[in-house]
Amino acid sequence: MPKTEVKIIGFLCNWCSYAGADMAGTARMKQPASLRVVRLPCTGRVNPLLVLKAFREGADGVLVSGCHPGDCHYNEGNYYARRRMEVLERMLPALGIDPARFHYTWVSASEGAKWADVVNEFTRRVKQVI
C-alpha cells in the first residue's frame, strides 16, 4: 500500500522552476511527497499530448511550471507553452478530466517559497477533487 495519497507529475523547465524547486529544497521548505518532477529544458518542450499521457497513465494531477512570461531562458518558449497549455486546459473537461487536476504556473529561480506554496496548494486541490 503506497503511502503517498496522490501522485502528481511536474514538468519543470530547467532554468527557472527546477531551480526554484531546488531553492525551496535548499531552504528546507517542507512539501508533500506527492510530486514527481520531469526536468525539461523549457516548458516549450512540453507537448500537450505528454500531459494527457500522464493522466492516462494514472497521474492524479499534472503541474507545468516555467519561467515568468518575458523571462524565458529561450526568449519566448514559455509564450508558446502558455498558449498550448491554455488550449489544453479548455479541452480537459471534454476528455473527462477535471481541470482542477491540471495547473500551469510560473515560478522563477528565486521563488523558492512560492514553489513550496504551489506544491502545497496544488496537492491540496488535487486531493479535494480526486
Binding site: C16, D71, S108
Partner: protein, 650 residues
C-alpha cells in the same frame, strides 16, 4: 549494462531516504547490473567507486541519485568520461533538494526516491551517446556599464591583451562612485582614487570606449556573440570637443542636473562634472531650445572647436565578442510613493543619501558646504533613517541594502567634520557592518563623532515651525521618541539600474526577485550567469559596496580571460535533429525557433528541415511544433519523456 549509485550525502540524504532500500529496489529494475550506496559520491573516493564499477562491470549507462543535476552534473559527466564512457550516458536523479530536504517521513521520501530512480533508469536506457561539438572563439570582450566595476573589469581584461569595448549609457564613465564624497571604510576621497582609473580607460590601447551608448540586440552564444550597439546622437563631435565648457556657460536652456541628484541646475548642453571621461559635452535634445522651439544655435556659434553638429544621427555598430561582462550598477529606490508618512517629497529637507553625498562633496553644487535645500541654511540636527525601501515587505522589498548602515556612519562622521556643533541621530534596526574594519568604523561614528544611534524605525515626519518632527521609537528605551530635525537623510535601498530588466532579456540572463541580475549559483558561481559567456560585476548583481564591486569585477575579468584564452569551445550536444526521410517540409519548426537554427535543405522531393547545430540552443520548441514528430531534441526525445512518465506512475 546499467549502474545505479545512490548518494547518502553524509546525512543530507540518508537521514530521510533509506538509501539501502533504494539500492535494493534499483537492483530489480530492468537493465540494472550494479547498484550501491556511497557516502559522499562527489568526493574523490566516491568518484573512484563509480569509475571502478564501470570498469569492473562494464557499465554502459549510469544513474546517479543524489543532489540536483544543477549542482554536480558536470562533475559526474567528467568522472564517467574518465572511466572511458560517453559522458552523456548519465542520468542524475534529484533525491536531495527535491526529496530528502523537503520531506520528513522516511517511508514517503524513500518511496518517492525509488520512483525517481526508476524514472531515471527508464530515461537513461533510451539515451544515445552524444558528442559535444565545438566552435571557434572570438577574442574580444564587451563590458556594459562604466561604473567602478565596469572600469575595473575592462582594465583587467585589456591588461591581459584582450581587446575590450566598454559601453556606457550616460555621457561619462564613473557611475555612482563618481558622485560620492569620501568613501568608507578608509575615508579615501572618491574622485582621488577613481579619476586616475577613468583616465586609464580612456588611454588604454586595448579599450574602445563608447559613451551615450546602449546594447540593442544580442545574437549568438558563448564565444561567438554578435551584438548591435546604438550610439546616441549627442550633437557634439567627440574628436573635436576640448571640454572648454563655453557652450554650457552660454546655453540659455536649463535642464535637470542628474549627476547632482537635481540639487542645482544644469544646462541642455553640458559636461556632468569636471573630471568626466571623456571630457566632452553632450546635448540633451529634450531640453534644448533649438529642438523644442526651433531657435537658438548659441552653442554652435560660441564653440571655438567647431564641435557642434545638430544633424548628428544615432549610429548602430555591430561587433563580435566572445564574452560579455554586465556592470550596469544600481539606481536608488524612489521612496516618495510608498512612504507617504515621510511626506511624499513634499518636504524639501527630506532627501536621499546620494543627494546628501553631493552636498558633502567639495565638487558638489554647494562647494562642500552643507546647505539644506529649503532655505540654504546650515543644518544643526540631522536625522538619518535606515532601511527605506529595504527590509520592508510592506513595499515589496525584503532585501537589505547592505551599504546603508556603512554610509550613514560615514555621512555622520563627515557631517561632524563639516559642522562641529551639529548633532546626528541615526535610526537603525540593526547595524550591519560585517566587512573588515567596518564595525570599528561605525563605532567610531559614535565614540569619536558623537552620532547618536537609536534602535527603532521612524513612523512619521511632519513639519513644525520650519523644522521637521521625526516621530519614532527607541525600542531599547521601550518608548516613543521625537526629534526636531533640520534635515532628514533617508538611506534608500538599491534597485537595479533603469532598463536592467530589458538588458537582461536581451542577453538572455535571469533576474532575481528584486530585478537584479541573477548569478549562476550563490556560492559557487557568483560571477557567472545562466547564459554561458555572460558574466556579472558590481552592484548590478545585488547591492554592494566598492570593495565588493571591484573584487567581483576582477573575478569576472579572470573568467573572461580564461574563456577567451581558449581557441575553441565545446558546445552542448543536446540539440535538435531532423529525421529528414520523414520530414514533410512544413517548416513549422523554423517558425517557432527563437534562434533561427532551422534552415531549409534541398532534398529529392522538395525541401526539408535541417538544424544548424551551432545555433541550436536546445529549447525543444520545434520538437513540439512538428506535426509528424520527426524533429527531436537529443537527450529529451519523446521516447525518453514518455518513458519517464510511464515509469514514475507504475
Amino acid at each position: 549494462m546499467l549502474g545505479v549509485f545512490v548518494c547518502q550525502c553524509g546525512t543530507n540524504i540518508a537521514a530521510t531516504v533509506s538509501t539501502d532500500r533504494v539500492v535494493q529496489a534499483a537492483k530489480s529494475m530492468l537493465g540494472v547490473v550494479h547498484a550501491e550506496s556511497i557516502q559522499y559520491t562527489c568526493s574523490d573516493p566516491g568518484q573512484r567507486a563509480i569509475i571502478d564499477a564501470i570498469q569492473q562491470k562494464g557499465l554502459t549507462r549510469v544513474v546517479m541519485a543524489g543532489c540536483s543535476p544543477r549542482m554536480h552534473e558536470t562533475t559526474f559527466r567528467r568522472a564517467i568520461g574518465r572511466a572511458g564512457m560517453n559522458p552523456f550516458m548519465l542520468e542524475m536523479v534529484n533525491i536531495r533538494e527535491q526529496c530528502s530536504w523537503i520531506h520528513s517521513d522516511i517511508d514517503e521520501a524513500t518511496e518517492k526516491a525509488i520512483d525517481l530512480v526508476r524514472k531515471g533508469v527508464a530515461r537513461v536506457r533510451r539515451q544515445k551517446p552524444l558528442q559535444a561539438g565545438s566552435s571557434p572563439v572570438t577574442r574580444r570582450a564587451l563590458v556594459i556599464g562604466g561604473g567602478v566595476a565596469g572600469i575595473q573589469a575592462a582594465l583587467d581584461i585589456a591588461d591581459a591583451g584582450i581587446p575590450v569595448t566598454l559601453v556606457e549609457k550616460s555621457s561619462t564613465i564613473g557611475g555612482n562612485m563618481a558622485r560620492l564624497d569620501k568613501t568608507f571604510p578608509s575615508l579615501d576621497c572618491s574622485s582621488c582614487i577613481l579619476t586616475p582609473r577613468m583616465v586609464e580607460v580612456k588611454q588604454h590601447e586595448n579599450i574602445k570606449l563608447m559613451v551615450n551608448s546602449e546594447v540593442e540586440k544580442v545574437r549568438g552564444y558563448i564565444g561567438n556573440f554578435e551584438i548591435d550597439i546604438r550610439k546616441k546622437a549627442s550633437c557634439v563631435i567627440e574628436e573635436n570637443c576640448t571640454g572648454c565648457l563655453i557652450c554650457q556657460e552660454k546655453c540659455p536652456s536649463k535642464a535637470p542636473d542628474d549627476f547632482n541628484v537635481c540639487a542645482g541646475e544644469s544646462k541642455a548642453i553640458s559636461i556632468p562634472f569636471s573630471q568626466a571621461v571623456p571630457l566632452v559635452a553632450s546635448l540633451r535634445k529634450e531640453y534644448c531650445r533649438l529642438f523644442i522651439k526651433g531657435k537658438c544655435s548659441v552653442c554652435q556659434k560660441v564653440c571655438p572647436a567647431g564641435a557642434i553638429d545638430y544633424e548628428q544621427e544615432d549610429i548602430v555598430v555591430t561587433e563580435k565578442f566572445g564574452a560579455v561582462v554586465v556592470a550596469t550598477g544600481f539606481g536608488l529606490y524612489d521612496w516618495k510613493q510608498s512612504y507617504p508618512t515621510y511626506g511624499m517629497g513634499m518636504y524639501p529637507d527630506v532627501i536621499n543619501a546620494l543627494k546628501y553625498e553631493r552636498l558633502l562633496s567639495a565638487s558638489g553644487p554647494t562647494g562642500g558646504r552643507i546647505e539644506r535645500p529649503s532655505d540654504g541654511k546650515e543644518p544643526r540636527d540631522i536625522v538619518f533613517i535606515s532601511c527605506i525601501g529595504s527590509r520592508d515587505e510592506s513595499v515589496g522589498r525584503p532585501q537589505c541594502c547592505s551599504i546603508g548602515c556603512m554610509y550613514m556612519a560615514k555621512q555622520a562622521i563627515l557631517t561632524k567634520e563639516h559642522i562641529p556643533d551639529s548633532q546626528s541621530y541615526i535610526f537603525y534596526i540593526d547595524v550591519r557592518a560585517a566587512g573588515k574594519g567596518y564595525d570599528e568604523f561605525t563605532r567610531r561614528a559614535q565614540t569619536d563623532f558623537g552620532a547618536i544611534y537609536i534602535r527603532g524605525r521612524v513612523g512619521k515626519i511632519y513639519p513644525r515651525g520650519g523644522k521637521l518632527v521625526v516621530m519614532g521609537t527607541d525600542t531599547l528605551a521601550g518608548d516613543q521618541v521625537e526629534i526636531e530635525a533640520d534635515l532628514v537623510v533617508l538611506a534608500t535601498g538599491l534597485t537595479p539600474a533603469e532598463g536592467a530588466g530589458q538588458l537582461a532579456r536581451r542577453l538572455n540572463i535571469s533576474t532575481d526577485g528584486q530585478g537584479f541580475m541573477a548569478e549562476g549559483h550563490p556560492k559557487l558561481k557568483p560571477v557567472e550567469t545562466n547564459t554561458g559567456g555572460v558574466f556579472l560585476a558590481g552592484a548590478c548583481q545585488g547591492p554592494k559596496d566598492i570593495p565588493a564591486s571591484v573584487a567581483q569585477a576582477g573575478a569576472a575579468a579572470a573568467k573572461v580571460i580564461g574563456l577567451l584564452s581558449q581557441e575553441e569551445l565545446e558546445t552542448s550536444p543536446m540539440v535538435a535533429e531532423v529525421n529528414q526521410l520523414k520530414c514533410a517540409g512544413c517548416f513549422k519548426c523554423r517558425d517557432v525557433c527563437p534562434y533561427g537554427a532551422v534552415e531549409a535543405q534541398d532534398a529529392r522531393d522538395g525541401q526539408v528541415a535541417h538544424v544548424i547545430a551551432s545555433l541550436c540552443q536546445g529549447c525543444g520548441l520545434c520538437n513540439v511544433a512538428c506535426p509528424p514528430g520527426v524533429i527531436s531534441l537529443k537527450g529529451y526525445t519523446d521516447n525518453q519523456l514518455i518513458a519517464e512518465v510511464v515509469e514514475v506512475l507504475r
